[in-house]
Symmetry: C3
Subunit: 113 residues, 3 copies
């Protein structure tokens, strides 16, 4: 059985299937710097994981896209402070321009229930 939450014509924000929770790519607020955008991404991840009945302690995989890899250290500082100790997911981070030039970071999370 597949459960979808916050479903528009383009995408669902949450899909649950077989004990796995998939979140759509999260972005921050376009005006903000990369640290604040990362904080907002991760706040949204926390919120969506809670709505899905799980939490960041159960993350499985994180894919992170940075619009410019020069922001790697600033993004990491926020990320490292946010991850619950001992519960880090696997992770990969690559450079990719995002939907508009105002978005500096996007975080794609998969978690267990």
């Amino acid at each position: 059985m597949i459960e979808r939450l916050h479903t528009s014509q383009r995408m669902s924000k949450i899909v649950k299937h077989n004990g796995v929770v998939y979140l759509c790519g999260q972005v921050g607020k376009p005006q903000d710097n990369v640290a604040d955008q990362t904080r907002e991404c991760l706040r949204l991840v926390d919120e969506l994981l809670a709505q899905a009945g799980t939490s960041s302690k159960n993350m499985l995989q994180a894919i992170i896209w940075l619009a410019d890899m020069k922001d790697f250290a600033e993004m990491n500082a926020v990320w490292d402070a946010w991850v619950p100790e001992g519960h880090a997911p696997v992770r990969a981070c690559g450079e990719a321009k995002l939907a508009t030039p105002d978005y500096l970071v996007e975080v794609i999370i998969t978690a267990g229930l």
Copy 2:
């Protein structure tokens, strides 16, 4: 048990495992514009999901790479018209150059059975 379909030395087009269907990245025809390439990607996704015993109504996650983010609106118009209402997967879309400059869009789908 892992089931593979259309397996070459480089990749399988379909892998089934634990009730999840993974498709290899789909691209369209190199000569076409982005709308037509997106249409062809999604036609191939439909075809492969059918061969896997499932359908676009069961999509879990879509990762979309655009060679140039200027094509975002045109790709989205085709995507939005194609997704079965109420069955949208989670989605993330980033800019990434593809195997050759002729490819404008690539779609990576995961679905439930």
Copy 3:
């Protein structure tokens, strides 16, 4: 139940959940050419999959990022020689700059147990 191996504050190298093994993005040695970096990535993948209790014969999905798509053929030659015949995962390959300009290729693997 989620099992994590080689867990730092930033990421785990291996996460196991529901019969699926997720590996963090693997890179090679910064000084090396793309063929050698790919060989080192895949050697690390073999090592991590063995630690997780599985092997490259059970790969489900591979996402490959190349810093420059001009290296596509060289990366593929190493990849094609490494994949166990008849066991190829689904695959997608896009261009993405990596953590530093010295990294030419990153490989993100998901496998079954």
